[in-house]
Subunit: 367 residues, 2 copies
């Protein structure tokens, strides 16, 4: 059975394979830490990107404190990898999910989550009470700072929710989360910074309102790869949640620039040559996500890629040498998170040799 | 640890979950068999849709003979489930993949594949020779019938490739494949039929040319859910490869109509309520593919869905009762194959009770 091993050459990998340039990835981690740690902000990287406890540990060794996950089922996998300080950034709603949260929290009391509705708070509190769990779960009010996705309305509605949470004995309110996801990919750096500062004003304003009313708001958490540098220096922000910086993609590169490098690609093979200037590779919709545009061929100037179904894509190129059947091409994903979620393993290499193989341990964990 | 079981009610499932209405799925299988078996055509369903040996066996029990897979790594999983007669419909290119093919073929000699280049043929032949395998592998010439993806050009180039293949002692040419993938989703039924018949004329014409030159072309294989009914009755077509009919999606429903029903949905939960007429569910880009448009809410007339990132989507509705936090919604995928590829299990139910749970055994097998 085919099973690559550390020490194998990249050439020996079958395709499509997800490969990571370790020098570039390590430089991305170092750049983020060097940029943000001096501000004093807590760095809690979002693992919805990597879905890997091994990568979580690398980030923590570099200076991160705790991690975020999007979903409860991701948290279940990441705690198995030894990471206990986790914030689940999506609301926990529905009896099956609340029951899973209780079981997770019973054995992993550092797991935290967010709440944006009184019924969400009440259901978690009731389930913890019924399970006879004594210590309260730490929760954050999820605030809408302009993304208009989840989150309670700032100001009085947030205050009312905080009051409701604090009336429940199995919940302990520790902070406020406000994710400005709608700003991450704004191309104009000044516009991104200005709108981010406006969102941070809303977020820290509500945190202040809650403190005025006696709530102990320790944590004010926010930010992604496109905004973390602005959030980190904004007074009152205690924590940032960047994730994509570790690998990047074309969408973030086009918006944020090349401070972080594209360190992850999908290695593909030319399997057919339908005509001059065109080559068909073995990577289509099931290897490269398309929600944020199409992936780009690496190191093939002037070449473009269009998927042709689940398992094919066409590289077109007017100039330059022709690709031949059997040639290998690296594709830079357009959106890193859903692309990683298509694959089972990372093959991390240096100088053409695989050094480490990491499972995408929480792949497919959407619950 | 959360693990649903047969006998559990659908209500007990955490979300997002991929659920299958067994009555509708079984009716889809029966409709296809009743439509195509009387024509005498061989039905070889494409498993790139379901990626499941359990579902392959259900199709074979209903009348299918053999199955297709797109990729070698899918074949490795499906043979483990006991299905031996498999056609790999993508070209096998590159030393790592050819080596895997040899190992698979050694133990599963009914595995067949397609070829569209002399170098592809030569590499497989040489590897089989070097491995000391006596019996030849059955191969089909992959023909470009208008999709302009893979496939050798019809006529003389196809004849030259057939001659090359027959000069190699470890390959046995048994047929021609020509997939008209570009026609599957044409909305106008007459246009779809006319263009399909034109493609079938090309395919059977080249099959005839090869026979004239002494090649034993037993198999002429083609067709998908959008064209199988036309292909099956076209003189000279021996085999069809439909896959999506078993579950359908909005893209096929919009093109082909409602002869087959949407039997698979993604069960989701409303987790936030940002305002009147809007509800945020827990299913985003990592639960529902977007390459062929957005998924549709089932049984919510007038409601539309837009994904908001990896794990969220917004259902908007101008009229009708408001959704509430905790409500469950079924989403009909826009493109079934890449959506199934995001999930690990099918929960197949009847009358609200889970009867069977099938792993998506070949999920992520893109190699």
């Amino acid at each position: 059975m085919y099973k690559p091993q550390p020490g194998d050459r990249l050439d020996s990998l079958d395709t499509p394979s997800m490969i990571v340039d370790l020098d570039l990835m390590e430089a991305n981690i170092a750049k983020l830490m060097n940029q943000l740690l001096p501000t004093g902000v807590n760095i809690r990287p979002h693992l919805k990107t990597t879905k890997s406890p091994i990568l979580a540990r690398k980030l923590i060794e570099a200076g991160a404190r705790g991690c975020c996950v999007a979903k409860l089922s991701e948290a279940e996998v990441i705690v198995e990898g030894g990471i206990e300080d986790l914030l689940i950034t999506c609301e926990i709603i529905g009896a099956p999910k609340v029951a899973r949260l209780v079981e997770l929290f019973r054995h992993h009391p550092q797991v935290k989550t967010v709440i944006d509705s009184p019924q969400g708070a009440t259901a978690i509190d009731a389930a913890l009470a019924q399970a006879g769990i004594e210590n309260p779960i730490q929760v954050l009010v999820d605030l809408n700072v302009g993304q208009n996705r989840t989150g309670v309305t700032p100001g009085e509605p947030a205050l009312a929710l905080a009051r409701h949470i604090s009336s429940l004995s199995h919940l302990k309110l520790i902070g406020v989360q406000g994710y400005e996801g709608h700003l991450q990919h704004l191309h104009d750096r000044r516009e991104r910074e200005e709108k981010c500062r406006a969102a941070m004003t809303v977020l820290t304003g509500t945190a202040g309102l809650l403190r005025q009313h006696g709530f102990n708001i320790e944590t004010v958490t926010t930010g992604g790869t496109g905004t973390a540098e602005f959030c980190a220096t904004f007074p009152g922000i205690t924590e940032v949640q960047p994730g994509s910086f570790i690998f990047m993609d074309t969408d973030y590169r086009n918006a944020v620039g090349r401070f972080f490098s594209n360190s992850l690609t999908i290695l593909a093979t030319v399997i057919s040559k339908p005509g001059p200037g065109r080559a068909v590779i073995d990577a289509g919709l099931k290897s490269l996500s398309t929600d944020s545009g199409f992936a780009e061929p690496k190191d093939l100037p002037g070449a473009g890629y269009v998927p042709n179904g689940d398992e094919h894509g066409t590289i077109s190129r007017e100039d330059g040498p022709e690709l031949a059947i059997g040639d290998r091409v690296e594709m830079i994903p357009s959106h890193i998170d859903p692309t990683i979620n298509l694959h089972d393993f990372y093959y991390a290499y240096r100088k053409g040799v695989i050094e480490e193989i990491w499972p995408v341990a929480a792949r497919g964990k959407v619950q």
